[in-house]
Symmetry: C2
Subunit: 406 residues, 2 copies
């Protein structure tokens, strides 16, 4: 078994739980926030800074590393852990999401949450006619797409995605899936979901029959958009899926582009169906209010670029909501970003100084902002875990959100 998961305690009358995930490179106490290191580096931070702020596990990106520097190079370098100097637990996503978003929307950068309200993206992601330029083409066997870096043509199948993830060598890898837009019609959603399930089986077969099958854990990805029936079907199909040798998935990802109000319903449907004893990862979600909903409904792992992206642009988390540290009022403010925060930034620097760094476009701004935001989110998830263990989750949720969202 490349992975073990132990549930320590459950939230009474809810699906949420606190647990421990044991990987080949160390242990993760859950629920846990997975720090995103897209291109085998957490932007603006050293791995030691990431570890020191309490991160237990990081996620690198299959699509990006396949294109640059290339998964074969990462393998030659001794694998992801050694290449990037992160000896702890790691994940790679399957590349599906990026193939359909970056590969499709050549030259554009899109966040998962905004997609749903951005009609231009919905059009560029997939259009039913051939009038619009399309960079990703979906066939039943795989996807051809153009690199967002240089426009070169590539073709990824489920087997290829797994092979790339073998070369990268993370502890947890994901099955190749089609990430559909929730704006697609039902007929397309069903068709895409069928494809995602066929690809999941091919990913599972390929992985479990390889020598990496016993070293790396494989998670299947539940899709199904906003449809209860499809979400539940997807969770059931993937839960029961077995390779010819009888292997099943080691855990599950929940994918898709969620509208804010849909997310917790979709998670609930899915987690009611997924086997309780296996870990569940909600892909691309990381705002405080969403983390509470996810944890409550049984999510063990989250990843999101929001804390680091916000951190690099000066949007910083406080218990009273987000602030934009570049606002003039903070230049003369010599208090910490968040009084109750124990992060390196808050222990050593004032709002005024961080504001100065952003204004002067100094790189340390991004470092200090990312450290604070990541620590804020990670310490929030640590507190959620503690509250589960002490039977006080809902009290903590109420206290935190009443201050944060007021």
């Amino acid at each position: 078994m490349p992975l073990r998961f132990v549930i320590e305690k459950k939230i009474p009358r809810a699906q949420g739980r606190a647990g421990t995930l044991l990987t080949a490179h160390g242990t993760v106490k859950t629920p846990a926030f997975v720090v995103v290191g897209t291109k085998a580096t957490i932007k603006a931070l050293t791995p030691e800074q990431v570890r020191d702020l309490g991160a237990q596990i990081i996620l690198a990106n299959t699509y990006h590393l396949y294109l640059e520097p290339g998964d074969n190079l990462v393998k030659k370098a001794g694998g992801l852990h050694k290449y990037m100097n992160w000896p702890g637990p790691t994940m790679t996503d399957s590349g599906g999401f990026q193939v359909f978003s970056l590969g499709a929307a050549y030259g554009k950068e899109l966040s998962k949450i905004t997609k749903i309200t951005d009609p231009s993206f919905l059009l560029s992601e997939r259009s039913s006619d051939s009038e619009l330029p399309r960079l990703a083409k979906i066939g039943d066997d795989g996807v051809s797409f153009r690199s967002h870096l240089d426009g070169s043509l590539h073709y990824i199948t489920p087997e290829k995605s797994i092979e790339i993830q073998h070369n990268i060598g993370a502890d947890i890898i994901f099955a190749f899936d089609e990430c559909t837009s929730p704006a697609e019609n039902l007929r397309y959603q069903e068709e895409a979901l069928g494809r995602t399930h066929r690809w999941a089986l091919r990913s599972l077969e390929y992985h479990k029959n390889s020598k990496n099958g016993s070293k790396q854990a494989l998670f299947g990805i539940v899709q199904g958009g906003r449809e209860e029936r499809l979400r539940k079907k997807s969770a059931k199909v993937l839960s029961e899926m077995k390779s010819q040798g009888g292997s099943s998935f080691d855990g599950f990802g929940i994918g898709g582009s969620f509208a804010k109000e849909d997310m917790s319903t979709a998670v609930k449907w899915v987690n009611e169906t997924l086997p309780e004893e296996k870990p569940r990862h909600l892909l691309g979600i990381g705002e405080p209010e969403d983390l509470f909903l996810g944890v409550e409904n049984g999510i063990d792992l989250f990843d999101c670029v929001a804390p680091t992206r916000n951190g690099r642009t000066g949007t910083l988390y406080t218990r009273k909501g987000k602030i934009n540290i570049t606002n003039k009022q903070f230049q003369n403010d010599f208090s910490a970003i968040e009084e109750k925060c124990d992060c390196y930034t808050c222990r050593n620097y004032s709002r005024g100084y961080v504001s100065h760094l952003f204004k002067a476009k100094e790189m340390l701004a991004a470092t200090l902002g990312s450290i604070h935001n990541l620590r804020f989110i990670i310490s929030l998830v640590e507190e959620m875990r503690k509250s589960i263990l002490t039977d006080s989750f809902f009290g903590f949720k109420k206290d935190f959100l009443s201050e944060y969202l007021r």
Copy 2:
């Protein structure tokens, strides 16, 4: 006395020496390389990273901090040490060099060494007629100049420069000087040098009569271009200069734009004249071959942006000379940047990984490059110091440069 300097050992038949500088915020073993933190931050690094690579003292920039965030704000924040989280020894330059370079060359960025061969800069720096736009205007009382940030008009006198440096609060501050181009004619050099000396005396008077006079050390700046007579005169005048209360400078800077081949001669002239018992800082010099010449000729302190600027752009020091890590050949090279280097970067990352970070425009590239280059230079100066203490300076110099410059 805001500063003590003890010479521990001299190079036989040369002016070079190893010593200890005692400041209000700690001790500096000399010769020492001073790390430049222009805007109260060492670009791309935390203060802890700077300390861990062996830096003993840092230099912030009066001109830049005066414009942004303002010296009064730094004072209000508790001074430079507290504001930027660097508890060790600090310096500020006088702002003279930047007023004449950045203030004059609005919108341009210029390195000290290249100035001499860049005719467009020489013209823009000062022109004898009024046809060219000039942003800095020199009067006998001070300099008016336009901010390179927003074009706003400012006026700095020697007293104002010292007042700004009091507000910033570094352990060692510099007298306000006029930094002339070596391309100026002799008549102008003499005139400017006279002004620099009058400004030095005003800086000395103002500082030593203030309450900060006993807390911060003041260095005078020797100018005089490429002229032996002027350099020696400047060194003599500043050595003998005394305030009305009988105070003299606590140490000396050697300023000016040097051509590579002039530097060591100018330093030699000056240091033959300066009092042996006081520390000497060569301003803006930091390439390995120049450091050897400086140390040999009696320089105790150096500062330069080259290691960090090179580090941010991928030009990295090795014992065999500089390499451009972004070159294709390094992508598949999994050895350390420099085998013999003990820095964080070389201990944990390969050339291939650092190359990938630069190619992918990741911020960690600048961090790892700066750490390596600074450690390379600082460890070189540490070795020079050790070689002085063990009477082997010239042997070390020969060995190092024969490999480095071949």
